[in-house]
Symmetry: C3
Subunit: 152 residues, 3 copies
C-alpha cells in the first residue's frame, strides 16, 4: 500500500453542484462523459474529494468501464438478452400505464444507476482504462445528470 495524500486543508472544504443536460439522437445511446466531469471539477476548484454522478431520470444509467465500441455493443446485446425490450403476451406491467419503456427502467438497474468517483489533484482519479459513461435507454428528449462534488 502506498499513501498518496493526507489532506487536511479543511479551510476550503466545500460542495459544488451542476446539472448536465443530454438529448440523444438515438433512443438507446452511450456517451463518454469523462472529460465533461473533469471540466466541472476544474470549475469547482476542488482538488481532493468525492464526486457523485447521478442521472435524474430513471431510464438512464451512469457507469464506469472501457471506451471501446465492441464492448458497448456487448452491453446492449447482454441487456436485450437478459431483459427483452418487450415480452410476448402480457408484456411488462409497467407498460400497462401507457408507457413502453419498462425495459429501460430494468436495464438501468442492472447497469448501475450512479457512480461516486474520487477527485485527486483536481481531476477524476482514474485507472488506465476507466472512463465514465452516460447510458441512455429511452432518449430523444431532454434529460439531466446531477454532478455534486464535495472536498477541498
Amino acid at each position: 500500500m502506498i499513501l498518496i495524500k493526507d489532506n487536511d486543508n479543511f479551510e476550503t472544504m466545500k460542495t459544488h453542484t451542476e446539472y448536465i443536460w443530454f438529448n440523444t439522437s438515438q433512443k438507446i445511446d452511450f456517451i463518454n462523459i469523462t472529460e465533461k466531469i473533469n471540466s466541472i471539477i476544474a470549475q469547482s476548484g476542488i482538488q481532493d474529494g468525492l464526486v457523485l454522478i447521478n442521472p435524474m431520470h430513471i431510464t438512464a444509467a451512469v457507469y464506469v468501464n472501457d471506451n471501446e465500441s465492441g464492448l458497448i455493443h456487448d452491453f446492449k446485446t447482454m441487456l436485450k438478452r437478459l431483459v427483452p425490450e418487450h415480452v410476448p403476451g402480457e408484456d411488462y406491467h409497467h407498460n400497462w400505464t401507457g408507457e413502453d419503456n419498462a425495459y429501460a427502467h430494468l436495464w438501468r438497474t442492472l447497469m448501475g444507476h450512479q457512480v461516486v468517483m474520487a477527485v485527486t489533484n483536481g481531476r477524476l482519479d482514474l485507472g488506465p482504462w476507466e472512463q465514465s459513461f452516460y447510458a441512455e435507454f429511452d432518449g430523444q428528449r431532454r434529460k439531466r445528470v446531477l454532478v455534486k462534488i464535495i472536498g477541498n
Copy 2:
C-alpha cells in the same frame, strides 16, 4: 450546463448518522423511503452534501426508480426469472449451510445494494420521478438501514 451552487460555508461541515429499522410483513417487499430520508436530512440541519443509504443486512437492496406498482411487479418477475428462488437439483451452495435465502443475496447484488444521493437546499435533490426504495428479499424480521449525511 447550469451552475447551481458553489458552497464554501466550511464552518458548518459535519456528519449525521441514523439507523432506520424495518420489519416487513411480507418476505419480499418494496418500501418507498424517500420521505423518511428527507425527514432525516431535515433533522440533521445539513443543507448541501451527500447522503449514503446502505442496508446493513445482505439480503436487502436500496435503489432509486419509479414509484409505480407495475414496475415493482416487473422487478420481482425479472429477479425470479434471472435468479430463481430455488434451483432444482443441487440448489444454491449457500443453502447447504442451512439457509434458504441464497437467492436474496444474489438479488440484492443485481438490484444495487446501496445508493449515494445528493442533498441540495436541505432535501434529496431528485428528478421528477426519482424515488428511493428499500427492497426486502428475506423479511419478516427486524433489519436496519444506515443513513449517513456529510455536508454543510
Copy 3:
C-alpha cells in the same frame, strides 16, 4: 429511528487516499478486504465520514455481502450462467480487439463496480454479516483499488 452521532468537529475535516495492489493467483478470485479497509481508516485518523472503495481496473468489482464460500460459488455460477465466458459463434465483439475478457467487463457491471461505506467511530460501520469483497474476474496480474476517505 435512533440518532447516533451528530458530528460537527469541522476543524478536522479531511481526506485520505490510498491505493491497494492485488495480484491474484487465480484468474477469477474473491478477496475479503474488510480488515484491509479498516486498517486504512485507522491510519487516516478519520473517525466519521464516508469511504469510497473503487477498483481502478474495469474487469474487477467491489461489493458487500456474506463471507461464505458457498455463496461465492453461487455468485460465480450465476455470472457464468447469465453471461458465459465465451459465446459460441461470433463471441463478444470486445474480443475482436484481441482481448478475451469481455465477460469480465460485463460481470463487474452486474456485480457492482464500487461501494461507498460509512465510517463511524474510526471503523467501517457494518451490519453483523456485511463484509467487503474485491472480486477479480481477469487476474494473475497487478491491479489497484483506490480507497478514499472523507470525514473528520
